[in-house]
Amino acid sequence: MKNKRKINSYNFTVGLILTLTMAGIMILGFFWTPYDPEVMTGSLKLSAPAFSHIFGCDQFGRDVFSRILNGAGSTLVIGVGTILIGGSIGVLLGAVTGYFGGWADEIIMRVNDALAAFPSVLLALVIISVAGSGTYRVMLALGIAFIPSFARVVRGEFMRLREAGYVISARLTGVSVPRIMFVHILPNILPALLSALTIGFNNAVLAETGLSYLGIGVQPPDASLGRMLSESQTYFASAPWCAVFPGLFLVLLVLGVGMLGEGILDRFGGGR
């Protein structure tokens, strides 16, 4: 058992450090990039990593590191936007259905189950094919597609806690229902919710880059890690850095957030 604890705490610490580092880099990308990510320098086409261009240059002579910073920005906006949209509506739906139960719960959860059986990427594809692509549409599509998964987690937690001692005593002392739900219960499900949000963030990042790879996600001129990967695939043999670095960035981001989510559950999950 002692070993288990050791592994747990390293999940949280490593995850937190990695997440903060990647988040720092992505936020930095909004304000500063070493070069203009759009500027093409003919003489630098597919040039290898060097001190001046640490991740090399792509097929148009653009600085790969600057483009990663820029693309990661889109990824961050979409990832955070998705969990904000999906999370807020999902929490609301899950809280109401889990707390009250009854026929509304039955109906909403039936629709929820039908949607949850559906891959969220596919649901996002439906929305994108109807509404069109682009950064904000992708965010909206993924946000809607992720509602069921959040609603399910929150509903389960609310059902578990709605008859808890402190909730019953709050009810008896005449605390209003919204206050019980969001001031009394919500803070207690935070570990489960936060870990669901990290999973949602990762799924959103993977979905966005996948969609952008397919050419139906983030559209030019916005940079995107997924599109960088699809563009660089042709040049992989001669210029692997164009694909390897965006891919590596993606892996580190997902790894960090994933470990953080697990660490949160391990550390604050309260024996669950």
């Binding site: 039908a114 059986a117 891959p119 990762n202 996948g210 790879y213 992989f236």
Partner: protein
């Protein structure tokens, strides 16, 4: 029996919801399908005739009914772009995607079951630790990135296959399966890592049970206890997990088909989305949804069959 009826009713309700949502989603798209087919130069009279012919002037619920009836009988509409029945467009692509999904599934099992058992047998020893870290990393790699690396390493460097040189199952079935192994592995690896994580913790929980101690006390070897006793119970939660993963595998195959240039159903879907060829998009999406929902039901039934503890 009661359990089966409950599950089948659940499936029917789910199918109903998905079909209504899909129908409505493509119903609210701005633009007149009749005009899309005829082009912008068509006269209003001509468009009106086609509208009547397509039944677009009838009320919504009638059109939904007709659409469902047609779909069930195999008439999935006509592509706007190719003016071809959707059924013919996707018919010979379905086996490709099915083969890839099944292959991925088999690979997930082939990789994850031995690794999980090994990890539990040597719990907290170096091999377990090694796989724990490897798992965490593998889970974080997007399948299409694994795919890109595979095409370079195995295609361009080792020349085991020609990237983009897809072999049709009609020409050479062995070659077809061979071509699909790496794409399927790209899909399978991250899922296998998730499965290992799940199966490992489930097995570890089983190994702490009383019946395991009893099995030891009867003189069984650690391997035998693990294989004969713990695995049998520990695999149950994994079955549900694998069922949920079917949806994921299919979703990922859409992207992987693009990486390896496989002309499966995913490629048709993506190119139809870019061309705004809605009948094709609608048909493919509904088809995938039906497959996933039916698969989930089968998994639920299988689970019940294996685990007698579940209420009937």
């Amino acid at each position: 029996m009661k359990y089966i009826i409950k599950k089948v009713t659940g499936l029917i309700i789910a199918l109903l919801i998905v079909s209504i949502l899909a129908f409505l989603a493509f119903e609210i798209i701005p633009g007149d399908p009749a005009r899309t087919i005829l082009g912008t130069e068509a006269t209003d009279a001509k468009v009106e005739v086609l509208r009547e012919e397509m039944g677009l002037n009838r009320p919504l619920h009638e059109r939904y009914g007709k659409w469902v009836r047609d779909f069930v009988t195999g008439d999935m509409g006509t592509s706007y772009y190719y003016q071809e029945p959707v059924k013919e467009m996707i018919g010979d692509k379905i086996p490709i995607t099915v083969a890839m999904t099944v292959l991925s599934f088999v690979l997930i099992l082939l990789v994850s079951i031995p690794v999980s058992i090994l990890c539990v047998r040597y719990e907290n020893r170096w091999i377990d630790r090694f796989f724990l870290i490897l798992n965490q990393v593998t889970m974080s790699i997007p399948p299409f990135f694994i795919g890109i690396i595979f095409t370079v390493v195995f295609g361009l460097t080792f020349k085991w296959f020609t990237p983009g040189g897809y072999i049709s199952y009609k020409d050479d079935f062995g070659g077809f399966l061979g071509y699909l192994i790496l794409p399927s592995l790209a899909i399978a690896l991250p899922r296998a890592a998730m499965t290992v994580k799940m199966f490992r913790s489930s097995l570890i929980a089983e190994m702490r049970q009383d019946y395991v101690r009893t099995a030891y006390s009867r003189g069984n070897s650690p391997w035998r206890v693990l294989m004969k006793h713990a695995v049998r119970n520990g695999i149950l939660p994994v079955i549900t997990f694998l069922g949920m993963m079917a949806a994921d595998i299919i979703a990922n195959s859409i992207v992987i088909e693009q990486v390896f240039g496989i002309p499966g159903i995913g490629r048709t879907l993506i190119s139809s989305i870019s061309k705004r060829d809605y009948p094709v998009v609608e048909a493919v999406i509904v088809l995938i949804a039906v497959v996933i929902l039916v698969l989930n039901m089968i998994v639920d039934l299988l689970y019940q069959k294996l685990d007698k503890r579940i209420e009937l």
